[in-house]
Amino acid sequence: MFETIRYDVKNGIAWLYLNRPDKLNAFIAQMNREVKDAIKAATFDEQVRCIVISGEGRAFCSGQDLAEVDEKMDHGQVLRDYYGPMIKQIRQCEKPIVAAVNGVAAGAGFSLALACDFRIVSERASFLNAFIHVGLIPDSGNLYYLTKLVGHAKALELSILGEKVSATDAVASGLANKLIPLDLWDEEVSAFAANLSTLPTKAIGLIKRSLKFATELTFEDYLEQEAQGQRIAGLTIDHREGIHAFMEKRKPVFSGQ
């Protein structure tokens, strides 16, 4: 079904591997489309309660495949037609999405990691806002997310100087959530995803929704949306399970419903 990515669902987790290792998983139009389609499939698949995006081989994703860029390219239109729809699909998804950054995440690869909810990084990972080196600006939602994650000054620095951020620095500056030692990589990534897949999935989605409202709405409008969100959460089976487990002094078992 997919050629540039690998996609399987196991135990409630959708694993999406960018799969052009000989090109450091660089984006071509087909890969934009396939990532979008896979995220859409995971969004609608009721089995899926967590999505992990990672890279095959030594890179996470090196960004746009420059072999595809020529003088005739309308860069704006490429964003509207390919990168934008992919990033929007990720933003619309209300399930938790983890970027398991196994190696370099450069350019649009960095943007892809930024669009996810969590970034967990291996010791080999690095982030690079490489656009400036070819005279372009960060795209695919990059600065929208970056400024929220690390603030204006740091976002500016990373984008204008275009220096590589190591895995440790990424965690220190708030770009990444967690550093995982190389030898524990597979195991800890799986554990991180497995934990997310057992949490109240609907509430996670509503938290993601509320955080979007928090940056888009006035305070009064936000409070109204918050009330709606809590009303929806209050109707879930997981909320009832949480209350029952608390009363019965046991660990809750959430179904995601």
Partner: protein
């Protein structure tokens, strides 16, 4: 038992709900369906147990538009003889408040149907569009008229010429809809608003609707005269006596709808 082929109706707490019921076709509108919708509305308009009418659709979308297959082979003469849009004219004669609860796609004839409602509540992610231009035609059931009166000539031309999809947020900004709510709560929030209206004095609601509609079509002076007559008329109602007496006696009014 459902008397209708393409819609479903129900009545609870003085609120009548009409649901478009062709979810597999994204509630695309055929002629019989429009006839059923407006027929049901007229019945509810006459039914004294009904105070507010809610219009919505089953499934993920309100309505993706008109049934294209049905009209493909029509010609000007057959359309003139069929006079299908006469059914659409009847929506404007409904006196009670019509609340539209829309979601998903609200396209073409579906958009025109939504514009026949008095108030519109939309789910997050609802998209509006007049895609007729892409089929070499244009809206024929009031789209160019009602949309222009709502949003003005500039935006109306842009949307009608391009056929582009309009997000719920944009629709809200331009006054096409009243409110955006979480999709999970579309009906609950719509019913809350309907409940509020149910408790308002019915004749006031009717004559306010009548006067506001005149404001859209009449020159200001004529509209003012018309409003005045409706204002006077309400002084013939029991609810006016009750409302004003309750106000003076500092108690809650108990309206009878008369």
């Amino acid at each position: 038992m459902n008397r209708f082929e393409f819609i479903e109706t129900s009545l609870k707490r003085n609120i009548a709900v009409i649901e478009l019921n062709r979810p597999r076709q994204l509630n695309s509108l055929n002629r019989k369906m429009v006839n059923e919708i407006v027929g049901a509305m007229e019945e509810f308009d006459r039914d004294e147990n009904v105070r507010v009418i809610v219009l919505t659709g089953k499934g993920r979308s309100f309505s993706a538009g008109a049934d294209i297959d049905e009209m493909m082979d029509d010609n000007p003469v057959s359309l003139e003889q069929l006079n299908q849009f006469a059914d659409w004219d009847r929506f404007a004669l409904i006196k009670k408040p019509i609340l539209g609860a829309v979601k998903g796609f609200v396209f073409g004839g579906g958009f025109e149907l939504a514009l026949c409602c008095d108030l519109l509540i939309a789910s997050i992610g609802t998209e509006f569009s007049f895609p007729e231009v892409g089929l070499g035609v244009m809206p024929g059931a009031g789209g160019t008229q009602r949309l222009t009166k709502l949003v003005g000539r500039t935006k109306a031309l842009e949307w009608l010429w391009t056929g582009e999809r309009i997000s719920a947020e944009t629709a809200l900004k331009h006054g096409v809809i009243n409110k955006i709510v979480a999709s999970e709560l579309l009906m609950e929030e719509t019913m809350k608003l309907a409940d509020r209206l149910v408790n308002q004095p019915l004749l006031s609601l009717r004559l306010i609707k009548d006067s506001v509609n005149k404001a859209v079509d009449y020159p200001l002076y004529e509209g003012m005269q018309y409003e005045r007559k409706n204002f006077y008329l309400l002084f013939a109602s029991q609810d006016q006596k009750e409302g004003m007496t309750a106000f003076v006696e500092k108690r809650k009014p108990n309206y009878q709808g008369k």
